[in-house]
């Protein structure tokens, strides 16, 4: 099993192997943990006492115009620039091919001048059609939830609080439909900010932008309610404000990202699995942690009762999960079960032996949760700066061994079957929208994205059968340059075994949704709301402290959010 310098030998024994973890069905059952990127960002905001300020709000009575919201960290300031506009209802789509949005944003590096705002006013509302500069760190857009947005403004304007059931059923006032960073469309490269303390973790700057967007949507709603209602208008009660997240619609773009960043993916999974192994390997629990865990089962039960989706598959899974959490609660209520040595491992094994993957992964989150002091430093290991390179002096005998040990899942697939190569991934000329095609139906398989990892490993394995063990990789790729990329991946997998999804991504049964959920869980999303196998809506930062609540002692207790008890 792989090792990590921070892990004791005992912990390593409790690591789940890649062939268990990196399977699509388990990845598609992922939940946020306290290592998720939003969670670690909120902890940093609180710890470093970040300051938040609305610098500008030039909007009309309908809320259209430009606003600037700034956040100051110990060393620098970032500003969210928001442009809002009226758009025709029929043009409101969550797809990449959309052309207009209710709100468009940049996260600016510093405080923008009027010239910066003028430049962005001509570009940001066009999104992919505009061009951006290294001063822009993030580009994003959002659409309103029409029924919640209008309901909130009208009720606040009349002096009332919004319907909490309606708020809970949607979870947000606006949903983002894309959040671009890392050099997209001319924005700053990741390397510009990678050494900044607050940016070292994965996706921290993008998720800072999302946090500011959430604040902006809430502030905008309160401002418009005041405009409409005058003195009668009220603001949200603090606990309701905190319960409002920001939505997100995620589609196929995230799937190629996962496959193109194997080092990063390994680091994410390694951190999570290391955290789980550390907890499972404790012979005696830390005082108070078991009680926190059993209490969290009550909260999670409520969260599940509020997690309502239209998707039949996910509804069935949630119903099953409710039953399983109930059974686990009962099992935990028998003190004998928790008083044995290695109680956390006992809980994990009990669940793994009996319950669904959805439940197993939720319990992973729950048993990690009370152990911040033990695992939170692992969040620092979840980014990556390295790129795999071909190891030219590796003998083929060694490469063959790696293929045999790590790619058994690929070499045993029968790719002569039509269903094994049913799908292909491609970029459409239509705004470069990533799409998922069916080989026997759609045109364009010649331009297939190089994401057929299993098929490529399988073909390499065939070619290696007749190649001499003594030959070096550098010599082999002179004759077989088509295998250069897959050999590089395979060599990387030896060092980073959690980097590869161990399933056929072309198979007829493949659901891109599983990849999306895996990534979004690492971000810290909750209430996955699949709309098909190709996309999902989620809620982000629901329950997270607002800027004025970051110094509260409970600022980190927002996992698996529930309707605040004050309004039940």
């Amino acid at each position: 099993m792989m090792s990590d310098s921070n892990l004791s030998n005992l912990s390593v024994e409790f690591m789940r192997p890649p062939e268990q973890v990196m399977r699509l069905d388990r990845m598609g059952s992922s939940h946020q943990t306290r290592l998720s990127f939003m969670r670690s960002l909120i902890r940093r905001m609180s710890r470093e006492n970040w300051k938040f300020e609305c610098l500008r709000r030039d909007i009309d009575s309908d809320g259209f115009g430009v606003s600037v919201y700034a956040v100051t960290t110990p060393l620098r300031t970032y500003s969210l620039i928001a442009f809002t506009q009226d758009i025709p209802p029929k043009k409101r789509t969550d797809r990449v091919i959309a052309e207009v949005w209710d709100a468009t944003f940049n996260l600016f590096d510093g405080i923008p001048t009027q010239a910066d705002i003028d430049y962005l006013a001509n570009n940001t509302p066009k999104q992919e059609g505009g061009r951006y500069r290294p001063s822009e760190l993030v580009l994003a857009r959002a659409n309103k939830s029409l029924r919640v947005f209008e309901h909130v403004i009208s009720t606040l304007a009349k002096g009332n609080q919004p319907d909490i059931e309606l708020l809970s059923s949607v979870g947000y006032l606006m949903r983002t439909t894309a959040v671009y960073g890392s050099g997209k469309f001319g924005c700053a490269d990741r390397a510009k900010i990678a050494d900044r303390e607050e940016c070292k973790g994965a996706f921290q700057i993008e998720l800072l932008a999302v946090y500011l967007i959430r604040w902006f949507t809430i502030d905008l709603a309160e401002h418009l309610a005041k405009k409409r209602g005058g003195d009668k208008a009220v603001k949200f009660e603090p606990h309701i404000r905190q319960f409002i997240g920001v939505g997100n619609a995620t589609g196929l773009g995230m799937a190629p990202f996962l496959l193109k960043h194997p080092v990063l993916i390994h680091n994410w999974v390694m951190a999570k699995e290391s955290a789980l192994a550390k907890v499972r390997s404790m012979e005696t629990p830390i005082k108070g942690t078991l009680e926190k865990f059993t209490q969290s089962l009550i909260q999670v039960s409520q969260h599940l009762s509020e997690w309502s989706v239209e998707d039949e598959v996910q509804t069935t899974r949630i119903d099953c999960l409710k039953d399983e959490i109930r059974s686990l609660s009962q099992w935990c209520s028998d003190q004998i079960n928790l008083m044995k040595p290695y109680p956390w491992n006992g809980i994990y094994q009990y669940v793994e032996d009996r319950f669904s993957l959805e439940c197993q992964e939720m319990v992973v989150s729950l048993i990690i949760e009370p152990h911040g002091s033990l695992v939170d430093d692992l969040a620092e290991t979840m980014s990556s700066v390295s790129t795999p390179k071909l190891v030219a002096d590796m003998p083929l005998s060694e490469l063959k061994e790696i293929v045999k040990d790590y790619y058994f899942w690929a070499t045993t697939i029968d790719f002569t079957l039509t269903e094994s190569q049913h799908h292909f991934w491609y970029y459409s000329e239509d705004k470069l929208e990533p799409r998922f095609g069916s080989r026997d139906v759609d045109e364009g398989s010649e331009q297939e994205m190089p994401l057929a990892i299993g098929r490529d490993a399988h073909e390499l394995n065939q070619a290696l059968l007749s190649a001499s063990d003594e030959m070096l990789v550098g010599e082999f790729v002179l004759s077989f340059p088509q295998f250069r990329h897959i050999i590089r991946r395979i060599q990387n997998t030896l060092k980073r075994p959690y980097s590869e999804v161990q399933d056929n991504l072309l198979d007829e049964t493949m659901r891109p949704l599983d990849l999306l959920r895996f990534k979004l869980a690492f971000f810290g999303a909750s209430k996955f709301d699949p709309k098909s196998d190709l996309w999902t809506r989620i809620s982000m930062y629901q329950g997270a402290p607002m800027p004025d609540q970051l110094s509260d002692p409970d600022h980190d207790k927002w996992f698996f959010p529930v309707i605040p008890k004050q309004v039940i």
Binding site: D94, I97, P134, A249, G251, D442, W535
Partner: protein, 243 residues
């Protein structure tokens, strides 16, 4: 995005050049290395499209190809195209790097008639080569010398005014660096510390000129024509979304 005289990010260099290489039928692994080389060119303040358009045009028009014969002796390794066309710098660059990484420290590498020598240099730079020297006389009889002094520090010496990115058709000699001081009296020496040059680029972006359109055209070959059906079913969400 196809506009001339554009400023792009390093990540866009990686994205577009990978697919531009793929667009002229280079295997994806070679296209990825080609894009990494172009990032290095951009990090050092050059327009990556200037030299790469030549390499891509050559492959596309079959003025070059990806075939390479490797002939070894005790003191030299020769990289030669067997088909009497230019040796594509896309295959030359990865072949040279692999040879260096295999441990050919005591030999000279001779790269014959490579179409865009700067791409070979860029591959060496992107792979943090150190204590190596490359020298070539191109088909316009311009001479260039590049020394990789230490990881991330390199210098370029030439006594002509043609920019190095336009150098074409050279016979390159790549060998361990033994001497950095011997230059012709009229030679111009420029030294680069890549990390410092990159820091400037991160603040300004990468300026690309007239050849960018050609790179984008090759990139566009990787895009699939949108149809009514694929527009409707190829990706998630609907054409109108509400909640």
């Amino acid at each position: 995005m196809a506009t001339e005289h554009l400023t792009i990010s390093l990540n866009e260099v990686l994205f577009f050049f990978t697919r531009a290489g793929f667009g002229v039928n280079a295997p994806i692994g070679i296209a990825e290395d080609f894009a990494r080389s172009n990032m290095w060119i951009a990090e050092n303040g050059f327009d990556p499209s200037s030299c790469s358009i030549e390499a891509l045009n050559n492959l596309d028009s079959q003025a070059s190809d990806l075939a390479v014969d490797v002939e070894r002796s005790d003191t030299q390794v020769h990289f030669v195209n067997p088909n009497n066309v230019y040796l594509s710098s896309l295959i030359a660059s990865v072949s040279v790097i692999d040879c260096i990484n295999i441990g050919s420290r005591n030999v000279e590498l001779i790269v014959k008639n490579v179409d865009s020598p700067l791409l070979v240099i860029a591959a060496m730079g992107a792979n943090q080569c150190s204590d190596w020297q490359a020298i070539w006389l191109d088909e316009s009889n311009y001479e260039y010398l590049v020394n990789f002094i230490e990881p991330g520090v390199w210098e370029m010496v030439s006594s002509n005014t043609q920019p190095i990115e336009l150098s074409k058709g050279g016979n390159m000699i790549i060998r361990p660096l033994v001497e950095t001081k011997k230059h012709p009296a009229n030679a111009v020496l420029r030294q680069f510390v890549t990390i410092e040059e990159k820091e400037k680029i991160l603040q300004t972006g990468v300026k690309v000129g007239e050849h960018w359109q050609g790179i984008y055209d090759y990139f566009s070959r990787c895009l699939v024509k949108s149809t009514v059906e694929s527009r409707a079913s190829g990706a998630g969400a609907g054409m109108v979304d509400t909640d």
